[in-house]
């Protein structure tokens, strides 16, 4: 019964790698929580499961490719791809810094995104133009990079608060995660990297919509504009006025909140359609 229901929901049935990824994400999330609780000896295991999840997730995307499902074919696929970028970025960053708190946030987010991408109902046309695919690919990478920057900014805010308010008994303080300066610098670099990609995606998106003859007067387009403006202001303010730390972190989160709202609107609209 369940199998039938699941199959009906999926245009392409998930590969075994998908289930491996789901299990690995769950275990990694649980282990990171245990590490955050003070059992540092489980850290290598947690990171190993993040790596397994990343590989399995990538394999699943590759497998779908062999079934002619492009990772940027639809918003639904793009969300799965976004989770993959998030996990990869986290894995890369955690080789250099202790980001347990970040992992506790990022891993469940990747898990939820992957499940949402694979198990949500398919409700849109799949014959996209090349322009559409490039737009979705670039937008996904851009938002993925912003998501990582935002995760770091969120950790910055939590750690900064613990240090400022002298909350020495909070997990954020006890975990001894990455130092504030490193979080700020890494978040800044990610936005530098993601901004041009997102800008090109935005321009291509506008061209695509115009070509389809649709109106640009929609809420999600305005919100995408808000994301772009927030990050543009952030980069200029950092460079010209020396913005950094909490102020920069706040603006990073505002920009990302707008990007998330865009994704949510797309997803809900497609599901309703």
């Amino acid at each position: 019964m369940n199998v039938v229901a699941t199959d009906r929901l999926l245009s392409v049935a998930p590969s075994p790698a998908f289930w491996v990824a789901i299990v690995a994400y769950t275990i990694a999330s649980a282990l990171l929580l245990v590490v955050l609780g003070g059992h540092a000896r489980f850290r290598p295991w947690a990171i190993a499961f993040v790596a397994i999840a990343f590989v399995a997730h990538g394999t699943d995307i590759g497998w779908r490719g062999t079934q002619h499902v492009h990772p940027a074919q639809s918003v639904r696929e793009a969300i799965g791809f976004l989770a993959f970028i998030l996990t990869g970025g986290y894995l890369l960053a955690s080789t250099r810094y202790r980001l347990t708190l970040g992992g506790v946030v990022v891993m469940p987010v990747s898990l939820v995104l992957l499940v949402a991408a694979r198990l949500s109902p398919e409700g849109e046309a799949t014959d996209l133009s090349a322009l559409g695919r490039i737009h979705i690919s670039l937008a996904t990478v851009g938002v993925g990079v912003f998501a990582l920057a935002s995760a770091l900014s969120a950790i910055y805010m939590v750690e900064e608060r613990a240090l400022k308010k002298k909350k020495f008994d909070t997990l954020a303080f006890k975990d001894k995660g990455a130092p504030l300066a490193a979080l700020d610098k890494l978040s800044h670099r990610l936005i530098w990297f993601g901004f041009p990609i997102f800008t090109v995606a935005l321009v291509l998106g506008a061209v695509w919509v115009s070509k389809l003859g649709e109106s640009l007067d929609r809420l999600e387009y305005a919100l995408a504009g808000v994301t772009w403006i927030a990050y543009a202001i952030l980069l200029v303010a950092r460079q010209v006025y020396g913005w950094r730390g909490k102020r920069a972190a706040r603006l990073t989160l505002v920009g990302f909140a707008a990007a998330l709202a865009v994704l949510a609107i797309y997803l809900v609209r497609r599901m309703v359609a």
């Binding site: 240090l163 002298k166 020495f168 008994d169 990455a178 130092p179 504030l180 020396g242 950094r244 730390g245």
Partner: protein, 454 residues
């Protein structure tokens, strides 16, 4: 088992005014140890003397109350009447002594729980005794195991986690903001002793640019020289704050010198680059509201002490697990010690049986040889058969002797000696293998033969 003992004094039992009277300088240790082993019925001795404890670890010769003599000896060595220190000296014997040594090595008996120095001090003490030739088989085994236990405790528990003093906490907090302190600049405002200590810690962590400023230029110069820093005039304070990453402030000023107004200007000029202020002055040098400014992290002496207290509480929690480790390891060590008591009897028993077996085998082989030609292979098979039978017969009594409780083992050993006319030699102990492999030499062949037996 009961011949291993500890006699000593520590921060737990006596204030420094008493401890210092019983302390030994490093150059006195060797002569004291030699005196202990030559004048008293003590076979092995190690002496540790630190600011928090003076302890003599020893192994008494059989039949002597060594703790009583050691107490007297320690007092007399320092020219004190034994009665004067009788109440502050403690002693442990046997298993309790082993537990105590393991606890000391693991810093579970230290004033600052989990501190790292005691292990090094204990290793030094052992080194001195080794050089003086007073550390024998039992103490060597006990201390080497203690070092292993200490390592286990440090890696398996959180006993050494978190800074346990104010200066280290200051460094720790700065590292939370900046990460690696290499290349960071430190400004020392005022010339208090605490700031000197904190600056030194920061330098040890990589902060390579340290500037000192003080209202009195002479004091600034003096401190700068002491900690290898640069002295700058007090009038440049604002400019110095713009350049610094970490500020350690400990002036004697009655009013705050690091005001919100000053920091508003400073932060603007720094382009809101993070700055950590360690304010260890009382009254405080920094206005509390400075902490509200973006990028400024102010910690006063109370904050630092709160972190120390929290870390020590965590260590105390970790100590529960550490005590379990010590208990387990001490149990294993006791088992080894116990088996050492019966080793001479086992050895004598096996030697006696081997002698009889060899003699009788030889007689039989000679008789056989007189009657007919016996091939070498056959002779060897007969000899092996006899050895096998003897080993099999001895296996059960040997195991029973080893595994018995101390009193029972002594009784059984006595009975065996009487029944078989054994005369165990005490020297056997020194030739015993390491802990965990405590088998009598003949047992190796015993087990080999057992495997070969049909």
């Amino acid at each position: 088992m009961s011949d291993l003992f500890v006699v000593g004094i520590s921060w737990r039992t006596a204030p420094v005014a008493v401890r210092e009277k019983l302390a030994f300088r490093e150059e006195e240790v060797a002569t004291t140890l030699i005196a202990v082993t030559s004048q008293l019925p003590i076979a092995e001795a190690v002496l540790i003397s630190t600011c928090n404890r003076v302890e003599l670890y020893g192994v008494a010769k059989p039949g002597y109350d060594a703790t009583h003599l050691a107490r007297k000896f320690l007092a007399e060595q320092r020219g004190l009447p034994p009665a004067e220190v009788a109440d502050v000296l403690y002693d442990h014997v046997g298993g309790e002594a082993v537990r105590h040594v393991f606890r000391v090595a693991s810093a579970l008996d230290s004033l600052v729980l989990g501190e790292a120095q005691i292990l090094g001090q204990l290793k030094d003490a052992y080194g001195l005794a080794d050089k003086a030739g007073t550390s024998g088989q039992v103490l060597r085994r006990c201390l080497e195991r203690a070092f292993g236990v200490a390592k286990r405790v440090r890696t398996e528990t959180l006993i050494a986690r978190g800074a346990a003093n104010v200066s280290t906490v200051a460094v720790d907090l700065a590292a939370r903001v900046f990460g690696n302190l290499k290349g960071r600049s430190v400004l020392v405002v005022g010339a208090g002793k605490m700031s000197t200590l904190a600056a030194r810690h920061l330098r040890a962590q990589g902060a390579d640019h340290i500037v000192v400023t003080n209202r009195s230029p002479a004091k600034a110069e003096r401190l700068a020289e002491e900690i290898d820093a640069i002295a700058k005039p007090w009038e440049e304070l604002e400019a110095l704050l713009v350049e610094a990453d970490v500020v350690i402030s400990s002036t004697g000023a009655r009013e705050p010198i690091l005001t919100r107004e000053l920091f508003k200007r400073v932060m603007k000029r720094r382009r809101w680059k993070d700055i950590v202020i360690i304010d260890i002055a009382v009254p405080r040098d920094a206005e509390p509201s400075v902490n509200d400014l973006d990028g400024v992290f102010v910690y006063n002496i109370d904050d630092l002490e709160r972190v120390v207290a929290a870390n020590l509480a965590e260590r105390a929690k970790a100590a529960e697990h550490a005590h379990k480790i010590v208990e387990h390891e001490a149990g294993q060590f006791e088992h080894w010690m116990r088996s050492q008591g019966v080793v001479p009897t086992i050895r004598a028993l096996r030697e006696k049986f081997a002698q009889i077996a060899d003699a009788e085998t030889q007689k039989t082989l000679d008789a056989l040889a007189r009657r007919e030609h016996t091939p070498a292979q056959q002779r060897e098979a007969i000899a092996q058969l006899v050895r096998l039978v003897v080993n099999k017969l001895l296996h059960q009594p040997t195991a029973a002797l080893r595994e018995a409780a101390p009193d029972e083992a002594a009784l059984r050993a006595e009975v065996l000696c009487e029944l078989f006319g054994l005369e165990p030699s005490a020297d056997a102990r020194d030739s015993q293998p390491t802990l965990g492999q405590n088998v009598a030499p003949s047992e190796t062949s015993d087990s080999t033969e057992r495997k070969a037996a049909p």
